[in-house]
Symmetry: D2
Subunit: 117 residues, 4 copies
């Protein structure tokens, strides 16, 4: 799913000297292709729900698909969050000070949005 | 969004004598175009998240989008459920007996899946 | 858990001629003792979490208990909602008109609060 | 709410040389009284719901209280988690190695339980 052009770009970013920052921000990089594949599948599921409504399928069957979709999205969010804690938050904690506090506050706010959504 | 062929098909279904059943099953029909538009927008949002991962955007910003997406899907589900209660469940309750019990059990199970997803 | 005095009161209410209304409003009545027992257990669980904080137990262990508690409460809510649909909403649907619309709107709003809480 | 005996015990634990560990585990300590007060209020709310069922209040009103209760518990959980990240996870990240990985995995699992409960 990543074209050669894209991999080149991502190499360039690393070469630009922001390696530490990049590693922090892009903890999901190693799994990038897996995330992209999961999101493609979710996009297909949304299209499936669209088709079900268009073909006037039974409401409860549509709701079952929407619940599955919500769970799939939540799982993507939980994986992203785990990667973010593992990389970005751990790095910030090591650097300490305001950066550390800020990253934790930001992560807590994201967790609250997830729990409440 | 509905092609002439599709409207014909749905007329045929009604002509097949299942009118009562259809009315129950397809409570969302009057709003069908709005549901289809909402789902198109959600599909676009999923593609937006896919792009953000592909472009290696900041994790927390991606999580914000995923939370918005989950809320949008939940709102679609709540609308579908409301339409289902208004039409299908009300009709079944009027018919009474096993059909009524079955529709309520089915709706409760769908609600539980939504609450727990 | 129900004292004789309480059962007498509830008989009086029924005798006051509001039987239809009562049956609709109090669909959970048959299971009342089970609901009261579940809520007593939940109250005990909250006290357990209070004790864990007071004894400065490990944060993650407290969070595990809070998640279990949230699930237990959601299950009580889902049971109450199922009973409400089975009795109150079904009765209102049979009566039809504004009462039916109102009960459905009310149930949908309660479901939305549950899904979003 | 903490008896003299209890404070002594907690001092002893600190004296046993586990100070670093304790600081990590008990990030919520500074706010302990506030957590205890919030949990007391939640316990009172559960008792209120119990009373409502016992007095056979209207189902939808009980559901409203249960939703408020679930939100209050989620907020306690989110505060505990924030404190846990701020103290325990940050400390572990600084220590690095297996301890850091373990604490992150544990926090991610707790977040997943919260999101899915």
């Amino acid at each position: 799913m990543t074209t050669p052009a894209e991999s080149t770009k991502s190499v360039e970013v690393t070469e630009s000297g922001e390696a530490g920052h990049e590693a922090g921000h892009h903890g999901y990089m190693s799994d990038k292709d897996r995330y992209l594949a999961r999101l493609k599948r979710i996009e297909g599921q949304v299209r499936g729900v669209h088709r079900m409504v268009d073909e006037e399928k039974y409401c409860i069957d549509i709701l079952t698909q929407v619940s599955a979709l919500t769970s799939a999205l939540e799982n993507v969010a939980l994986s992203l969050l785990d990667d973010h804690l593992k990389h970005c938050v751990v790095n910030a904690a090591r650097n300490g000070g305001a950066e550390s506090d800020e990253k934790i506050a930001e992560a807590s706010a994201a967790i609250a949005r997830l729990v409440k959504s």
